[in-house]
Symmetry: D3
């Protein structure tokens, strides 16, 4: 069960109204690397987790991310507060109100007009938050890796926001939030490696014939060898086209159909067959500039398809017109 | 520049039509852990990458994932081929066609009716593929971690599909695809650790006061200590409520408004103030069962608000009716 | 700041595994009327709210909804737990595993294969939760109405789920959750009417000429008068076509363009003009059955457009072929 | 059946081209509170409604909303008309065209480049309209409340747009549209209360033990009592943690598994167990700054893991390296 | 199987950094008319296609579109490269960095902050690419028409982008990409018409009674006749209301219910019946300005519902208050 | 302005309740090829169109599509009516209600539980309708082609539905709707070709060097020549790799950076450089099965990294452990 205390986990002090900055901060409120995604990622894992240690850790961090959602949301609310009041009360003349709205820049118009200055669960471009941002699949060896990656991404997005902010209070709160991502990544790393083995995840072993193969699928100048495709650890397939398919069979898809299916498939094939030897007149030909150019173009209105010139044109273009 | 050879990277041999299984396999065609997500994840990183080694590797693996998309798509097409032909040609009586469609189970009806039996970029529940599945953010220390996690997830989803398939040809192709995820994860791991340092990502250091703090935000029975919150590596905040806010300040959000903003905000507050001492009649009261029960309910039609009984009822419910 | 206690707000006791029911319950976990939508709806309003009373209430209810999200998520996790274990460990032969998966019915295959049996933020059809489910706009007279409506909807979806469940523990927990929606609706109603006036919302008055007009836009048998269009409260526009436009002007859209714009618009109009007097041959004609029927159809391969018969056909169809 | 008359319900006269304003108006064309959402909300309810009076009203208002969609769409088309012509005809030099496009501000670039100046079913931030904006659930006591709330929201978004517009013709048409929302809300209110009882919706009664309980889930300074949690109407649970779970049972989730399920679940638990007593080396350690700092950092290339210094470092960091 | 060569199909030379232009170009990377949509449209068709000729063509063009995706992606990457470096390295003071970010205009802030300057699969407004952009349905007579239309659209979006670009290298590459759409459209047209017949698609014939009917559903000034509704090819239904329904039956929906269903439907109708003769007090009345105006408004706090004036007001408004 | 008549354009008579069929029909209500997509496609084009003839036609057909939306929606409502009543009134015991719900099959559970049996704007798999289904771009030569393609697709989806339905009334109404798509396609074809020229669309000519080039990007067995790549109409590039890039330049992307940008880009490259000569220990190694196998695996708990065996293992795997 959750509880709430009306104090923030970290104090939010904003120096001045700035709807443009508020909109950028939405990235960490309702964006893919933001705090709701983090909280829900860990919360859904926690609910389904059976391992007591991981379950506790996931609830700890999920809960803290909710508190971070509150901190970043409060930053957005404070940065928008003045503009929100002015628009709601209609204090400015329309032209001035329009100028302010446009002047705040980026997508802050959306926050003002549609969301009334409140923190909305969108990214800084207005894209609605969606649960496709959460990649949990119910296997801890995967989910912990996903969490590690997610924390690293959140750290960087905070870093970028800090780089474009000079309000000390905002910078301070963002630095707190950024730092906590580092700590969380550390915990998830510890949890991953305290479960052994964790690689490869799951129970089914790979096929040893291809589990260390490296396919040099991109060829040409720029080909490079490194630890990721070294002969020490990988079998380097330098020319994949020479090994197609890798199973050495025919490399084409097939299915065994029952007689009724086979008959239907063949009937469909016959009905929809293309004729490689045809040279059909097409819709593009009917509307083509080239035809018009020959016939004097648009002068006199649309194409006169009855003129002999038109037939000549079709002939020259390689079409055989009806005679 | 991309090229294509009409042979598959791995031969696809399907034993019998099975639209229900085809639909499940869509998970790895148009699902979040599927091959398009993988291909586009690495391709978009490759295009933006400046490091020659990583760029080459990313193009190699992105290209191979496109070949895997072709393999899984061919499995789907083969499994659906018979049913597609029969529906397109209308060979069955309607009742039989309906029975077959329903009988195939899960969401295969969608593949048949809407997508005509072709491999569609949806997951097995019909959710359209969207680019929110891709979490690249343009920093290699993050993106490589995201790739590592993504490969581990794809491995497991293949494992689950293999567990529910007994067609040998399908199982064989899925095992190939699953194994390649293991190999790709290995390459991404090597690439991550051949870039040093890679943790924490980015340039800005964390705030040392909170970078090793662990917040025991979830309390109660089940609290557990482990490597993820050990005293060796973390400062364990056992009772977070005792440290709120962690910065020791007031813990409430604030913003400095200019006078015009302040006036507007105050006007809005006044206009929209709630009255804590009110005891208003509400819409719910107007439509409430309780009121009706007292007045004889629905007999005789809707509530007769003119009856004295009604007033009594309102009184009993704690409302003060107009007198 | 949020805290968590590992006890649930309401005890969850599930009588037997049932992935099909688990999937239906997702409706209230990651569906539009579910607990995440509720929690985030009130939380985002709370963060932006300045009125102390409403802010407190919104945080109270938002926090409780998070606890409900945990209860419903735990129901899903328990109902899926057995199936999850069996699939992850691969304990069944493939054919049996496939049979179980299909047999559980509805979209539970998605929960199993993609999400590994965990509670996912999707509705029961697999649609990803998205923030478009939240309709807060930052005005309390609107947001409270939205909250009232949302609580009423959630009540009904719980009622439907209860109607299809006979597991006593599940029924019990769902009844708790359903009842709390009733209580929350009551609170939001009280809050709405303790702010006066609240109708119409906002500051701008409506245009009195049309603010009580009722437009009988749907005509014919079935027209009915009632309190929603009574003469007592509305001006009933019985025949809207007789009052078009309602402003009595020309009823067509216009814009004043500057000369450069005007020139461009006219050039575009000329370039893209359709010719009402044309009788063009079209792409549909080129591929039409009717033409083929006349010429002997598909016998002998695709249409032979050089035959005289073809020209006759075009003539009969009303097209004037090139001569 | 629908009919259309080419006159608008309200005349649209735009004073001058303004793609920036056009883009803002999209909010009420393809935004969540816009006219398509309104029309489809009522239309889908109308089709399924059996009560003659409500059905008629819903068709009346749905149809009028389609006419409003036409009015707002015409405003957008007129405001964009000049810019559309200039871009389509390529009348400006590229640099000038780019300057104009950027200068129009907000997301109007999207309307111009992607949608060619036409009214698109997006909100002002480019988010595609989706049916998640419609919250109808097929119960009139809920749907009417949803409609009431929706009308109030639309009223406010129009008010905000009016506040930033000084084109008299635009203002005039927006005022008409805003006013109609007020009238529609009145009708929906009348319809709701002419159905008795309507609260709580549905047939299942709530559990009386918790239907008037108010959970003070958010604690601390700022706690406030008001009509929404008054002792008159609610049982105020001041300290929810003291009543967890509210049912007085164990408060933990449980499920009865059959033996095969139980065995699988236990096997999975064993396989994926974390070791609370471990102190594993992690991926973060392998890429950590701290290690590098001790060993001389990046001078001389990536970390030399063979050096004794490195081992010392690991020791100091609390890791036990292999010996 | 796919291969890749690290050379581009067309050389990309960008004259200067321009994140604003980069963001516009995303339209053809991750937008609905962009290269990923094209590649996936043809690729998914190719995989399911059985006709050898079409299959080969679809793979040819799908593969080329992937190469175009690489070209447009490289343009985006080059245009962003400088800004990406500066933001990642934090070389500017925060105020200057913010100024640059805002100054680049349109939605380029999203590319910078969220995606780190890499090409993201979004359109120029930030909308995530989704597979709903692909309209393939598995029938070649439809899919080829869809492809023809898609190529024409892509051509125009490139044309618009060329119109706002004066960087010669960018213009050059865009012109190449635009031209290839023309060539592809020609191929798809040839393929469509080499399959005969192709109109109407499918096997089921239309009902001849309505297959050439034109319904003049939009009436009034502006009605126009042209080839699309000419008497030569269509039966023009001038006054559709006179032919409603067109089948000459009752024009109302009906269903035959079994007795149990019928009983349930009737019970529901009774429970939820509205009363056309009611004149209920509503929630809007409870919060209405008009009431307050009569009672002295907000002076002295919220509405005093106990005052006689209030009752009078309700009476004047047409409500019958409890007495 | 729109009007409505409560009679349907075509009578709907449903023989028996069938929620499973109802759900399939949603494809044409809220699916991508359905009637809302059609109506909105033409309506949005109509509003922005300046050509009088096309504008009238687009309004005619848009309006008729709204009437079709009503017909298909009424089919859905009738097929669901019985089940809706039974679920709402709770007439069945829970087990029986669950059995009915599951037995109806496909995704009809979603329609029942979430949408209460009403027609929802989703496809038959539950995917929310979204405006990405509409591909209008504001150029008639493109939009008319898009409309032609859309009508052909809708025809086929209706044909598939008819093939699985044996309720005569349903079949009849679907045949009407299917036929109207044929008629609409004819009108759009006429409109396209009455505008000359219409190919290629737009004003900018293609680059003649590549406008007739055909790129044989997919190689190998199955290469086929046909009208779509014939020498008559195309320049066939048999071996694209021999012409890379087609412009004969260097084929690599480049950008001219200013000195500050260049410095930042180089700093970033240095900071994030990978070391091709490294052979780093990775996270996968730390969690690898292979290591555990050598050291006795999980016996005795997680990997004991202090054992000499472990070091030996790392050595055998090609890693150089710290000494």
């Amino acid at each position: 069960m959750f509880s709430h205390n009306k104090r923030l986990q970290y104090t939010v002090r904003v120096g001045a109204s700035n709807p443009g900055l508020a909109n950028l901060l939405l990235e960490q409120f309702g964006g893919p690397q933001g705090e709701l995604a983090a909280a829900m990622r860990y919360f859904t894992q926690a609910v389904a987790e059976d391992d007591a240690g991981r379950k506790d850790m996931l609830f700890d961090i999920a809960t803290e991310e909710l508190s971070h959602l509150e901190v970043i949301g409060s930053l957005v609310a404070m940065l928008n507060k003045g503009a929100k009041g002015e628009l709601a009360e209609g204090v400015d003349a329309a032209a001035e109100a329009y100028r302010k709205l446009q002047g705040a820049g980026n997508d802050s118009h959306l926050t003002q007009i549609l969301y009334g200055g409140g923190p909305a669960l969108i990214n800084s471009g207005g894209q609605l938050w969606n649960a496709g941002y959460i990649d949990s699949i119910g296997d801890p060896a995967c989910d912990l890796r996903s969490n590690i990656a997610a924390e690293s991404r959140a750290k960087i997005v905070y870093e970028r926001l800090i780089n474009v902010t000079d309000d000390p209070g905002v910078k301070d709160a963002l630095t707190f939030l950024m730092t906590r991502e580092i700590a969380h990544q550390r915990s998830f790393e510890k949890a991953l490696y305290s479960m052994q083995p964790n690689f490869p995840p799951g129970k089914l072993p790979g096929d040893p014939r291809v589990s260390a193969m490296y396919v040099n699928a991109s060829q040409g100048e720029g080909d490079l060898r490194g630890p990721w495709n070294s002969d020490t650890h990988f079998e380097y397939l330098a020319d994949p086209l020479a090994h197609i398919p890798v199973d050495g069979q025919e490399g084409v898809p097939s299915v065994q159909l029952n007689p009724a299916e086979k008959a239907a498939v063949e009937a469909m094939a016959l009905r929809l067959a293309s004729d490689p030897s045809a040279d059909p007149l097409t819709g593009a030909d009917l509307g083509s500039d080239a035809v018009l150019a020959e016939t004097g173009g648009r002068a006199g209105g649309p194409m006169d398809r009855n003129s002999g010139a038109n037939v000549d044109t079709l002939r020259r273009l390689g079409e055989t017109p009806p005679t």
